[in-house]
């Protein structure tokens, strides 16, 4: 290799290294420009040194330019973070809520195990059982945190892509449009993001892990799930997925608007009615009579219900018990719809 070739080789290695740290779309263009600039610098340095370009002069030029990663970093446009400072408080709040909700679910699961399968807990009670609870909690917490991070990263990415438009909006910002201190139409971005997280999380569990959409038991070092389907719930899957999709769209629209508007309130009202309808269909279609003595025996829980006349009575009571959450949800949905309608008819009367 001639001295000139060695110098060129060093520059080529430098450009390759810098290119690795550049976004694919910018890579060819920036490295082509950098090559020209480096070669010009090298030639000038060689002229000043009074000798043809060589590896040592090339090294001097590259040293002056800076490390390849640093040079690439300066050329990069766009965010260098997964979740920016604007979304970070909401992200942290979501993680906190996830960890708390999971802890509650776990404790409830342990309590259910203690009622239905006390012997398993008694048999294994000790440091190993406690460790298995901690291990399971950590596993589910990790999965949920990963999902939340993914969702926030996608939102951050979408936000950046419409960044140019947002900057233009910022220029014509009008202080008179600042929300009132007591503003019922103000939205909490954190709250909306938390909602989006739970919508996506439930959607994923319902569609991809239906076996976990129900009750979870933790005991004896294993997770045992009884799905809603197994318990006799008949949820109209298509309608529920459609509802989640609409709820997601509403939350995204709210984030975009930054506040409630009359149209969005109507959409919320419609979504509430739709949700009520889904609950009604679930209630009408569900059949809790599948839970009988055999059902318990299949799961190795025959001891929970001893044979006898009392058993049938207990089981029918259990069936009614399973319908209660649905009935409560239906009543809540109806009341909520009425409150929303009242608010729409009174608050937005003048703005039409």
């Amino acid at each position: 290799m001639t001295p000139r070739e060695k110098a060129d080789d060093l520059i080529a290695r430098y450009l390759h290294e810098a290119g690795q740290s550049l976004p694919r779309g910018q890579r060819a263009d920036v490295t082509a420009e950098l090559r020209g600039l480096l070669e010009d610098s090298l030639e000038e340095r060689a002229a000043a040194a009074g000798r043809p370009p060589d590896e040592e002069l090339a090294a001097e030029v590259l040293r002056a330019f800076g490390k390849p990663g640093e040079v690439a970093e300066r050329y990069r446009t766009g965010p260098r973070h997964l979740i920016g400072p604007e979304l970070f408080p909401a992200y942290r709040a979501t993680l906190k809520i996830i960890l708390i909700v999971l802890a509650i679910l776990f404790l409830a699961g342990i309590a259910l195990s203690a009622v239905f399968v006390p012997e398993r807990i008694q048999k294994h009670l000790g440091i190993i059982t406690v460790w298995s609870w901690v291990e399971n909690y950590a596993k589910y917490a990790f999965l949920n945190i990963a999902l939340a991070t993914l969702i926030f990263a996608v939102i951050e990415h979408l936000k950046f892509r419409r960044g140019a438009g947002a900057a233009a909006e910022a220029e014509v910002w009008n202080p008179r449009e600042l929300p009132k201190i007591e503003d019922p139409d103000r939205i909490s971005a954190a709250g909306r993001l938390v909602s989006i997280y739970f919508i996506v999380a439930f959607f994923v569990v319902f569609n991809f892990f239906p076996q976990y959409f129900g009750l979870l038991f933790f005991g004896g070092g294993e997770v045992r799930a009884i799905s809603a389907l197994e318990m006799g719930y008949r949820i109209p899957a298509l309608l529920l997925n459609l509802w989640w999709f609409c709820a997601l769209a509403l939350n995204m629209a709210l984030l975009r608007q930054g506040r409630w508007t009359r149209d969005l309130r109507w959409a919320e009202f419609g979504l509430g009615l739709f949700g009520g309808l889904i609950i009604y269909f679930t209630l009408a279609g569900s059949d809790f009579s599948v839970i009988n003595a055999e059902w318990f025996a299949e799961r190795g829980w025959e001891r929970a219900f001893e044979a006898g006349a009392e058993t049938q009575q207990k089981l029918s009571r259990l069936g009614r018990l399973l319908a209660i959450p649905l009935r409560i949800a239906l009543v809540v949905a109806v009341i909520e719809a009425m409150v929303r309608l009242f608010r729409l008819l009174t608050r937005y009367r003048h703005s039409s």
């Binding site: 420009e33 950098l34 020209g36």
Partner: protein, 112 residues
């Protein structure tokens, strides 16, 4: 130790000054089409030495903001990216120049 800290603080503040002035200097210099290296030399000759790592990415950013236009030209068998000020850049340069002159006058009064 304190002396070194003082020096680094001074360096940082000087850098801030120069950074603010650099955009105006670049926009004004690019009323004539130039490529990165020739611009660097022109600025250095005018007394505004600036390292490559700052200047070249700045040209890209100004172009992305619509203040500069660029095109590739092959010269001496070497492709080079030439930059020139855009109409929006020209408007901004005029405004910044007026701002700069006003600031110099103000600072002269303050420092007197």
């Amino acid at each position: 130790m304190k002396g070194a800290e003082q020096l680094s603080l001074q360096e940082n503040l000087s850098l801030e000054f120069r950074r603010g002035a650099l955009v105006l200097a670049v926009l004004t210099s690019l009323r004539e089409e130039q490529y990165g290296y020739s611009l660097k030399k022109a600025l250095a000759e005018a007394g505004l030495g600036i390292d490559e790592g700052t200047l070249y990415p700045l040209l890209r950013r100004l172009e992305a903001q619509g203040l500069l236009r660029s095109r590739w030209r092959v010269e001496d068998a070497r492709p080079r990216r030439y930059y020139r000020i855009s109409a929006a850049g020209e408007t901004l340069a005029r405004e910044l120049a007026a701002e700069w002159r006003g600031l110099v006058r103000t600072m002269e009064r303050v420092l007197r």
